[in-house]
């Protein structure tokens, strides 16, 4: 038998989708004009949630969605009228609904009267209309528990209407169901049959007299006929105790003929299904396999003699086709996991509203680029950081209405949430037109907490990003809203955990923009392969600004800053990768290959490598589990020849140096190489 449990995740996924769709629909109700489409859509969303909740027995969710549905029904039927206040109530109710769904998902019980107020609001809306009876009843064709213990004999007279067959009801089925209740004998009355010439083979002309001995009640028997009786005459007479029940309805035609069962023939055709639901695990497995396939393919390519490929046009063509197919397959599978960020974005206006209401601010939320698609696994991890950033933006950024008026700003603050794909990554920005970051206060606090040196000289940008330090979220008045015990350091950690970066830009009095930069997918990366010492390293292509060749004398030493190169007049810090990683002493070569990388804060670093090996698409292997968190290393990949290349995190390049106690180990790679397996 099917276990309902396996459908829980489908249900919650559906709830998420419905709730995400609900918010914009309800918001639309504020406008003028015909709202029936929006109301219908909202009603269906709630209705679906209620239906599913019923299957799983989530009692509070059922009751609340029922109240919600009734309110919408009242609005839909015109029994109640729409106004701004009611729309607001519905929006708040949809937030409560989302909480109830979340509680059901996590299997936790919300406080007893959690939804009480929202339910009252809903009841007020639907008040004009009487509640529809929604108590579950037993199925129409089903039997209920048997009534009496002593069997009784009933006489049933069944005179169906001529069109019974047109409702897909076969008398034989009814009789079969009856016979399950007890002992049945049936006698057909063919008196009503018309002459053959007048006979409609699709009509029913016969009536029956049935005798049933059963312990079931009259109600059980009537249930079996429930859908057939309305247009047919049904009499049930109890022979034993003269308990009699008669039900009269319009009698069918009385033209005699033989009943014909014209069941449509099954024509075997292929199924037409426009979409299917697949376990994410299976897709992940595919992603892994395709990653391995890409590697296997490059192994094949590396082992083939390039000259052989060049001189064999057939082989050359087949190989390029293979590469194209692999790439297509990869893109295809990735797109299965991609989802528009809408599902996360849609929740944010209500988050903002909640906060704004609690601390008496006026805020409107603008959503841009909701259709931007990101890997589903990333989307799921995005919600909490976004909520926190938005809380911060309103709690710390947006000023009170009167203060804003004084400053010549619109009284209603603006929080803009945007998503866009830029190059190899997705960029999500939360910007507000609030007061911006108080750099003096942040700096003071950082020095007080000894997070930075007292004489540190920092750029504005660097000061802004200090708030990612633990314990530095500068709530001047610690409010319940933006405080919440977690700071921006947690946001940063969460975003980093999904392979992203977060940074802040702010202008005092004008506003703050928090930018989250995310990878398109967690699994595949375009990178530039370089050699440092004997080892290969991979620099994500999204970080690479340009490659250049310099001679040694073009590197200048600046006191306190280290090596600096000049790129078109701009001074850029230079890092000798191999010595930075402790793989060898500083390079003494005269001609240097440099990969200029751009860090998350927009700064440039010239990375001096021993050789640029070319660009390559690779499958990221996380080493965090097995090897723990390592500064400057974002992961690893296995190259075509089976060797490992580490993936550099250019943002932490300098961190490797300042923290590393790794001694130079030039001998290591050399020694191990002779024993390659």
């Amino acid at each position: 038998m099917t276990s309902l449990e396996q459908f829980r995740s489908t249900f919650f996924q559906e709830c998420d989708e419905q709730i995400a769709a609900l918010e914009p629909v309800l918001s639309m109700l504020v406008g003028t004009g015909d709202q029936s489409e929006a109301l219908n859509a909202a009603f269906r969303a709630i209705h679906s949630i209620k239906g599913g909740a019923g299957m799983f027995g989530f009692k509070r969710l059922i009751e609340f969605s029922h109240a919600f549905e009734s309110a919408l029904e009242a609005l839909r039927s015109g029994a109640a009228h729409l106004d701004a206040e009611r729309v607001e109530k519905l929006l708040l109710a949809s937030d409560v609904l989302a909480d109830l769904v979340e509680a059901a998902r996590r299997n936790v019980e919300l406080p007893e009267r959690y939804e009480f107020l929202a339910r009252q609001d809903l009841a007020l809306i639907s008040g004009a209309k009487s509640e529809r009876d929604q108590k579950p009843e037993s199925a129409a064709l089903g039997q209920e528990a048997t009534g009496s213990v002593v069997p009784k004999t009933y006489e049933i007279i069944f005179k169906p209407e001529a069109g019974l067959l047109r409702r897909g009801i076969e008398p034989l089925t009814l009789f079969r169901n009856l016979s399950e209740l007890g002992e049945l004998t049936a006698c057909a009355d063919t008196e009503g049959l018309p002459p053959l010439a007048d006979l409609d083979p699709l009509s029913l002309y016969i009536s029956w007299r049935l005798t049933l001995t059963t312990t079931a009640s009259v109600k059980d028997i009537r249930n079996i006929f429930e859908f057939a009786t309305d247009s047919a005459a049904l009499q049930i007479i109890c022979r034993d105790d003269a308990d009699q029940e008669t039900r009269q309805a319009e009698a069918g035609k009385r033209t005699p003929s033989a009943p014909a069962t014209a069941k449509a023939q099954s024509i075997r055709h292929e199924r037409t299904i426009s979409s299917i639901r697949v376990d994410l695990d299976r897709v992940d497995r595919l992603v892994d396999l395709i990653g391995e396939m890409t590697i296997a393919q490059s192994m094949v390519l590396q082992h083939l003699d390039q000259a052989a490929i060049d001189t064999d046009p057939l082989l050359y063509r087949a190989l390029s086709q293979l590469q194209q197919l692999t790439r297509g397959l990869q893109d295809g599978v990735m797109s299965i996991r991609a989802q528009p960020v809408r599902s996360v974005f849609a929740r944010m206006p209500s988050v903002a509203r909640e906060v704004a209401q609690a601390i008496n601010r006026r805020v409107s939320v603008e959503l841009i680029g909701e259709e931007t698609e990101i890997d589903k696994t990333i989307i799921e991890q995005l919600s909490d950081p976004l909520i926190h950033i938005i809380r911060n933006a309103i709690g710390h950024g947006i000023e009170q209405a009167d203060e804003r008026r004084r400053l010549g700003k619109p009284e209603t603050g603006l929080v803009r949430l945007s998503a866009a794909q830029r190059g190899g990554c997705i960029v999500i920005e939360v910007s507000d037109d609030g007061r911006g970051i108080d750099r003096e206060a942040v700096l003071k606090r950082a020095i007080e907490q000894a997070q930075i040196a007292t004489d540190a000289i920092l750029t504005d940008e660097e000061i802004d990003n200090l708030i990612f330090l633990p314990g530095l979220s500068t709530a001047q008045e610690v409010s319940d809203i933006s405080g919440r015990g977690v700071g921006m350091d947690v946001v940063q950690r969460n975003i980093q955990a999904i392979g992203g970066r977060v940074y802040i830009q702010s202008e005092w009095g004008v506003g703050t923009t928090t930018t989250i930069q995310l990878p398109l997918t967690l699994a595949v990366l375009d990178g530039m392969l370089v050699r440092a010492g004997k080892e290969a390293y991979l620099i994500p292509l999204s970080n690479v600004a340009e490659c250049m060749i310099l001679s040694r004398h073009q590197i200048n030493k600046l006191a306190g800053t280290g090596d600096v190169i000049s790129i078109r007049g701009r001074h850029v810090r230079a890092v000798d990768l191999a010595s930075q990683l402790g793989l060898r002493q500083t390079s003494t070569q005269d001609i240097l290959q440099v990969v200029v990388v751009r860090t998350e804060t927009g700064g440039l670093i010239g990375v001096i490598v021993d050789e640029i090996l070319g660009s390559q698409q690779i499958v990221i292997k996380s080493i965090k589990g097995a090897c723990g968190e390592l500064q400057g290393i974002a992961g690893a990949t296995i190259l075509g020849d089976g060797s490992i290349a580490l993936i550099l995190d250019v943002n932490q390049l300098s961190a490797i140096n300042s923290n590393s106690r790794f001694p130079p180990k030039q001998h290591l790679a050399k020694a191990s190489e002779t024993h390659a397996a």
Binding site: E292, G533, E535, L581, G582, L583, K621, I623, G625, A626, C627, G628, E629, L630, Q631, G632, I633, A636, I638, G642, S643, I644, A645, L646, I656, N659, S660, R661, F662, P663, K665, L668, A669, A671, S672, E673, T674, H675, A676, A677
Partner: protein
């Protein structure tokens, strides 16, 4: 050898249910003999190309590609404070599963598989300072030789990043 370990593990699992015997993989490291509970050992390999892991603790020699899985290599000599291993041809990697991950232990030579009744296993005597270490679980005798049983969880638990290693490194030098 790996084959032998597979079958011994099977046997050991059965023994274990009877609660009597433990089996160990015996290896040498700088003349001293050590052993690891066979239940943790997945396979034994000749030493292969090790990729350096910058920023890792010094006793992490690097990482290897084990059929597509990236596995860190622990230099046990370094871990025990016996100096650094110079890689030579006959050295071996003992692949173990610990804490839900695979790890490779760099050892001089794998010698034997030893079966021992659990009551023969002794605690490291408090007076025997040369053998006291947070990484040693106990002693087991093989003929007239005493073998040190290595506590794998301890070796790997501190992690690989340099941050934690400092604290543990201090702990080791304190006890040795």
């Amino acid at each position: 050898m790996t084959q032998a370990i597979q079958s011994s593990r099977e046997a050991s699992r059965e023994d274990r249910s009877a609660g009597e015997h433990r089996q160990f993989v015996v290896f040498s490291l700088g003349g001293q003999h050590y052993c690891i509970d066979i239940m943790s050992v997945r396979e034994i390999r000749v030493v292969q190309t090790i990729t350096a892991l910058p920023g890792a603790a010094e006793y992490v020699r690097g990482i290897i590609n084990l059929r597509g899985t990236i596995v860190p290599v622990f230099d046990l000599r370094k871990r025990f404070g016996l100096g650094e291993t110079t890689i030579a041809e006959n050295q071996a990697l003992v692949i173990v599963a610990v804490g839900g991950h695979l790890a490779a232990l760099l050892v001089d030579e794998v010698l034997d598989i030893l079966s021992s009744a659990s009551d023969v296993i002794a605690a490291v005597p408090a007076s025997d300072s040369s053998r006291r270490s947070p990484f040693f679980e106990g002693l087991v005798s093989q003929g007239d030789m005493m073998l040190i049983i290595i506590d794998l969880d301890r070796i790997v638990e501190a992690g690989i990043g340099h941050d934690e290693s400092g604290a543990l490194g201090a702990a080791i030098s304190g006890t040795m």
